[in-house]
Symmetry: C2
Subunit: 229 residues, 2 copies
DNA sequence: TTTGATGGTGTATTTATTACACATGTAATA
DNA sequence: TATTACATGTGTAATAAATACACCATCAAA
């Protein structure tokens, strides 16, 4: 049944924009390339898609190889296919973004040979990037700006227990504008998807804030109601 | 400088969901395939990407070959890459949608050999589709449902001069719900992007309605203000 | 001239958004 | 133990936006 397709002279890759939130800053993971082309340049983590894996599987694998993490919110958002985007041939790249919980911990183990090292970089201060990765990053940034207004993605960037101030910081840094504290809290709590844990921060050198948790069950019940965060 | 990429055993295609609005119905263009696989099945128009064209160029070309039209609002919205989506090999398909002005006229000339014929079909009454085209269609449908709320895409489906009732029909059929006439008009006119042409319909067997035009210049001035249509 | 079908209009109610300032609690330290 | 530094936590009034709702006007055709 397998006949031959007229063209097989192309390939495709996945590139990932891995967002993380740490110390009040939105960061993405960049690798320093160890191979041509663009050896020694900074680039988004990415790789070629294997024959026997779907695009989503491939994105999941690449993320796992790079960070050791699984069960992460990832989403395909655009495909880049300019003729000369890759100097070695026709490579169409499918872009994904992921939202990671950072937290002074072990994330990031660039085991693979194609990367010398990997660093988290503040999105407001990125170096020059290889290929068309600047464009890929910008489109990803736009995407999460839109997405955060309608979907509960901010929680993916925070630890399971978080304070309202931390949550507000995520919104402020992604939307790139200050929000009013009282209005923000009123609105967030009004959705009824945050559970007050009756628990306080500890180890902070000021008044400890109440910890909340995102309640997925309650959110699921609202589905279809088009919340506007 | 050109080295060899490790894998070149794959290919990619474009599939298009062409939306049109006619006689109060939202329709898409389907072709009846004349080639294996899925010979004689209904399918979305699509084709393989050529070596020397970008994805956007390819989408534009395919649309032009099929309809004779150019200068059409098209947008890439998702890429489908399940391993077995194409029975003859690994084919990743980049999906685009386009919004066309129908109007009893000449659109649609399925000249190519791979299609027997092409028909406009109401989205509420589609036949079984080849490949994963049902899924591709559904995702496209979701996309324009979201998009129409924030971007002025409804106008792309209407003739240059249109009545407010026609415009409301477009919203109703895409959002799949009835809207209140007075509230709809109040809101639409409040944006200040519709120009009253001081002109009436003619040839209708009832009271003729005022014709309006979408004013792109005024809309452009609002840019960044996040209108919610 | 009557009928049928669509065009066109306003107001009151409810809900959401915005603007805005000060007392409280905690840890560090003087 | 008093003071300081710092982030937490709270309410109300004003404005803007969304919603609900019904009838007369106009035109062509019969």
């Amino acid at each position: 049944m397998k006949e031959v397709l007229p063209k097989f002279n192309s390939t495709f890759s996945i590139d990932c924009v891995l967002f993380g939130f740490d110390e009040g800053e939105l960061k993405i993971l960049l690798i320093e390339r160890n191979e041509e082309p663009f050896k020694d340049w900074w680039a988004l983590p990415g790789n070629l898609v294997e024959e026997d894996e779907s695009l989503d599987q491939s994105a999941t694998r690449i993320l796992h190889e790079l960070t050791g993490l699984s069960d992460i919110y990832m989403e395909q958002y655009y495909t880049f296919g300019d003729v000369n985007r890759h100097p070695q041939g026709r490579v169409v790249s499918i872009a994904y973004y992921a939202l990671l919980r950072l937290g002074g911990d072990k994330v990031v183990k660039p085991i693979s040979n194609y990367a010398k090292q990997a660093y988290w970089r503040n999105v407001k201060d990125l170096p020059k990037l290889a290929f068309d990765h600047q464009q890929i990053f910008e489109k990803g940034m736009e995407k999460i700006k839109r997405r955060i207004k309608h979907q509960p993605i901010a929680f993916e960037l925070l630890p399971e227990k978080f304070t309202l101030t931390q949550l507000q910081n995520v919104y402020e840094v992604i939307l790139n504008k200050k929000l009013d504290k009282r209005n923000f809290r009123k609105k967030m709590l009004s959705f009824g998807v945050l559970r007050d844990l009756n628990e306080k921060q500890y180890g902070v050198s000021f008044r400890a804030a109440t910890l909340y948790k995102f309640d997925k069950r309650k959110y699921a019940k609202l589905f279809g109601k088009e919340i506007s965060f």
